[in-house]
């Protein structure tokens, strides 16, 4: 019922829009109308008009806004039926809606007044989608697979373009296409615009399928990066077509190749520069947090336009802008701003995507481009599919020889099948010059048909295909504790084996790399937070959720008075102590007042709460506590597991603090290891000190900074004793001086057989750390 009402509304709006447009001269929605802007009536008036009809005044913006509204209403209608969207991807349905709308307009106007013009598409609709993909790109995944992605993007696209163009030309020569005037160069041009896999279509289709992340990033990354190639190929062949066949010699071809490098790398570099600019800016925007989120949009758009202006690859530019700035933006900006940026990006991206697909549908209903040539169209479809698969198989075969985890055959099929063409190809086709390319309409028509074929047909069949082939899907379950621990164990194991076998493996950056040293200092705010915000926020959210549930339950029963359980009160302040005080003053304020036992479930459990008034509440209490305890275990592990060397590379940090943590962790591990080695050594061979083991280590051990002293101390003040404690307390004080290792060495060398008492003191296995109960 609601849907019917909505559809009716849609139709009414549309008829209104169409009749409005009809009453004036037909105009494309993006180009301006000369008569707007004047607004004032030129006819002589005889009396004061109270209200006047000023359609011309608002025509263009009105139509734009109306179309945006109509497109989004289409999406609303579609999303209302989830059973349909399970089978048919939303993009396909939007195109169908576009057909319907286009048909209505055609029926009203006999001419297609609204279509997707290249300017609108490339300047107003595409940039935000690409910015969103760049900003939310999983960087680690992207860069580990970058080799595969680049090979597919560059070589794959060139292969597609060349083979399509040549095959079509071959068929033309063979007479399969009848009488059309297209030369070899034009075929190659056509091939180049059809070759590119389209990011918008890929997102739209793959997002409903949930394949595993590696497969997704391969197809998706390729669709983004191939823009570099597409732009070059298109421009090169366009220029060649203009120059005519005779003027092409080796020099021009070499220039073409050079232009590829310039366009691709230039675009990426430009994007990176803009990304760094944004990061730098976000460092200083503390006082204007209210418009802080806006900067990324403006600067991202400028990156796009600047690349267009310099005829570099604009998509590459905006992608790298997003990729570079995400890390720094997320650390520098206020939490609210981060949320705002994320949501706004999604709104713009999704909105644009919707509009694009609707207009792709509308653009089809245009008699002028209905030029049918069976041979051309069918052969294009056929060749696109075939050559895509062949290209993927060949390239993956090469790649698999050097990949750690080979891409399976099934995944290759999905990669081939996922080579969807979309609006970018259409935009390029419409941009063709009619005078030079006589058969432009045929090409546009074919492009549209190909786009529909890939988006609708391949989109609909993608999900069943994925299921039928049993492709590995994205992991949706949370890791169990065992898996978490074991993953850590694996990481440490791998690092150790790499060290033992002298391999470099994936660790190309052994030392604290350039990025952490310089970039972080430059681009991150030097604010002092002890741990990463993410964890605190999740912890905070969890607590808030618990609190809200209790409030709801309490209100349900009248008041919150009885939930307060005095003896289960945990002094949150005391438990985490001064450590967290500066770090989360706002949370402290909230928690200090909120005396629920939910804050520290582990300790609350231990405290053996007196049953509260209502037994059911108590039950819920305990259940909640147990669940919370489970969650608590996860978060304890997450917080406290030592990071392996690999992880150190990928962390982002508020410069100083995390580096300090490294030092501490490293010291802890080192001291612990040395002690246990000494023990086993002592038990093995009686009292022969091996000085040689120490000297080598002294050189390698990173010098601890003086700064962490205060924090290092406070971390351990909360009562949980450092296992290093058995060593004399003064030891810890001297730990931070550069000579601390010598001290350890000197202790060792003094461990002569005569020194038995002291030995035993040093070498007893660390006593169970003393627990100060009030500190828990």
């Amino acid at each position: 019922m609601a849907e019917r009402w909505r559809s009716a509304l849609l139709l009414c709006l549309l008829m209104a829009a169409s009749s409005l447009a009809n009453s004036e001269t037909p105009v494309s929605s993006s180009t301006g109308n000369e008569t707007t802007g004047t607004g004032h009536e030129t006819a002589a008036i005889t009396t004061l008009p109270i209200v006047t009809w000023k359609w011309h005044h608002v025509e263009v913006p009105y139509l734009v806004a109306l179309w945006v509204l109509v497109s989004w209403l289409c999406k609303l209608v579609i999303e209302a039926n989830h059973n349909v969207t399970n089978y048919i991807p939303e993009s396909a349905l939007l195109i169908c809606f576009g057909f319907i709308l286009g048909g209505m307009i055609w029926g009203a106007d006999k001419v297609q007044t609204f279509k997707l013009t290249p300017t609108t598409f490339f300047f107003y609709l595409l940039p935000q989608i690409i910015l969103d993909t760049g900003y939310s790109m999983p960087n680690k995944l992207f860069f580990t697979n970058l080799g595969a992605i680049l090979i597919h993007a560059i070589i794959g696209t060139c292969w597609n373009a060349a083979t399509l163009g040549l095959s079509l030309w071959g068929c033309h020569q063979g007479g399969a296409m009848g009488n059309i005037e297209i030369g070899l160069l034009q075929y190659l041009l056509y091939g180049s615009l059809m070759a590119a896999v389209d990011p918008v279509a890929v997102i739209a289709v793959f997002e409903q399928v949930h394949v595993n992340e590696v497969l997704f990033i391969l197809v998706f990354g390729e669709s983004l990066l191939n823009d570099g190639v597409t732009v070059v190929l298109f421009n090169v062949f366009d220029a060649f077509v203009s120059l005519g066949g005779g003027a092409i010699d080796a020099k021009e071809i070499v220039k073409g190749i050079v232009s590829f490098f310039v366009v691709a790398f230039g675009g990426s570099l430009l994007g990176t520069v803009f990304g760094l600019l944004i990061s730098l800016l976000s460092r200083c925007t503390k006082n204007i947090q209210i418009i802080e989120p806006g900067f990324i949009f403006v600067l991202g758009y400028l990156a796009y336009l600047t690349a267009e202006m310099l005829s570099l690859s604009s998509i590459l530019s905006i992608v790298f802008c997003g990729v570079c700035c995400q890390k720094y933006m997320n650390s520098n900006m206020d939490e609210n701003s981060i949320q705002t940026v994320r949501y706004a990006m999604k709104v713009f991206a999704n909105g644009s995507e919707t509009i694009i697909f609707v207009f792709l549908g509308i653009s089809a209903i245009d008699k002028t481009i209905w030029v049918w040539n069976t041979g051309f169209i069918l052969l294009t479809l056929f060749f696109i599919l075939i050559y895509r698969f062949i290209g993927v198989f060949i390239l993956t075969w090469f790649l698999n020889r050097s990949r750690l985890v080979p891409i399976s055959f099934v995944e290759q099929i999905i990669m081939g099948y996922g080579g969807l063409r979309g609006a970018v190809a259409y935009g390029l086709a419409v941009n063709l010059n009619e005078t030079k390319i006589k058969e432009k309409n045929l090409m546009v028509c074919t492009t549209l048909i190909v786009v529909y074929f890939t988006v609708i047909l391949q989109g609909v069949t993608m999900k069943p295909l994925v299921q039928w082939l049993n492709v590995k899907r994205a992991a949706t379950v949370d890791l169990t504790l065992v898996e978490k621990v074991q993953n850590k164990v694996f990481e440490h194991m791998l690092v150790a084996i790499e060290d033992i076998s002298g391999q470099i493996g994936d660790n190309y950056w052994r030392n604290k790399n350039f990025e952490e040293k310089w970039m972080s200092r430059l681009l991150l705010k030097p604010s002092a937070r002890k741990k990463q915000d993410r964890l605190f926020n999740v912890f905070h959210q969890l607590n808030l959720q618990d609190a809200m549930e209790y409030v709801k339950e309490g209100e349900h029963r009248g008041s919150l008075e009885f939930i307060r359980n005095e003896s289960a009160f945990v002094d949150f302040k005391k438990k985490f102590g001064e450590d967290y005080e500066e770090a989360m003053p706002d949370i402290m304020a909230v928690m200090a007042d909120d005396q629920g036992s939910l804050n520290d479930p582990v300790s609350a459990c231990r405290r053996d709460p007196v049953p509260s008034v209502s037994l059911e509440m108590h039950e819920q209490n305990m259940r909640g506590l147990r669940e919370a305890e489970g969650i608590n275990s996860h978060y304890l592990l997450d917080q406290h597991l030592y990071k392996s060397r690999k992880q150190h590379r990928y962390r982002f940090s508020r410069s100083h603090l995390d580096i300090n943590q490294d030092e501490n962790e490293v010291q802890e591990i080192f001291q612990r290891t040395m002690r246990s080695r000494l023990e086993s050594f002592k038990s093995g061979k009686m009292g022969v000190a091996p000085p040689k083991t120490i000297t080598k280590h002294t050189k390698r051990e990173p010098q601890p900074k003086v700064q962490p002293s205060a924090r290092f101390n406070r971390k351990h003040k909360s009562g949980i004793e450092n296992p290093v404690n058995p060593v004399a307390p003064s030891e810890r004080a001297q730990v931070r001086t550069p000579g601390h290792l010598h001290r350890l060495a000197s202790l060792r060398t003094s461990a002569q057989p005569g020194d038995t008492v002291r030995d035993r003191n040093l070498l007893t296995p660390p006593p169970p750390p003393h627990r100060d109960d009030d500190h828990l």
């Binding site: 504790l481 990481e491 493996g505």
Partner: protein, 195 residues
């Protein structure tokens, strides 16, 4: 290997190792030069001290355990074959190995053997069970000093709870394999050995 300490690797040894571990010729020779560079005593075997001399292992939480894994039960020296045998666990699983006629014994880098290696890291006393204490030891090694024993104990308990299906509060190898069946062990426990 003969009574004379030989620093040269003989062809037939390379062939043996190749058959047993699946490494290629060049990988074996490269790893052999690494072996000899670690072997300061030049007696053709490595002792624990030789491993401990690698500085990065000192700052690896599991460093000592992994060193331990190289040494067979009760021995203090490991020769090159043993060295390679342990390293073979970390070879990536190759697709073509699955297609060729499956070898008589399971290759060292099969998923089961990889998991067995990981299992043995916990299970020091080789009773084929990870007890709560053994788990606690490993957890303690991997975790910072801010977690109290109680907390760590509760984490260990929950971890065992997740895996333990027969209720003996220990994790047997079968339970270990079962609980990790979704984990991509092949990738997480493989490193690319340079040719």
């Amino acid at each position: 290997m003969g009574s004379r300490a030989s620093t040269l690797l003989r062809e037939e040894e390379i062939e043996e190792i190749k058959k047993e571990t699946g490494f290629s010729h060049s990988q074996i020779t490269r790893l052999y030069s690494r072996f000899t560079s670690l072997d300061k005593g030049e007696n053709g075997t490595l002792s624990r001290e030789d491993f401990q001399r690698i500085p990065e292992l000192a700052i690896n939480p599991l460093g000592d355990r992994i060193i331990n894994a190289f040494f067979p039960e009760g021995e203090d020296q490991v020769n090159f074959k043993g060295f390679m045998r342990t390293l073979a666990h970390f070879r990536p699983i190759e697709d073509n190995e699955k297609n060729k006629n499956p070898p008589a014994t399971e290759p060292l880098n099969s998923r089961t053997n990889k998991l067995l290696f990981a299992f043995r890291l916990y299970d020091l006393d080789r009773d084929d069970k990870i007890s709560r204490d053994e788990l606690l030891q490993v957890l303690r090694m991997m975790v910072g000093v801010n977690i109290s024993d109680d907390q760590l104990g509760s984490i260990a308990d929950r971890t065992i709870q997740e895996a333990d299906t027969n209720g003996d509060t220990c994790i047997s190898f079968q339970e270990f394999m079962k609980v990790l069946e979704k984990v991509d062990v092949e990738q997480k426990m493989s490193i690319r050995f340079l040719h």
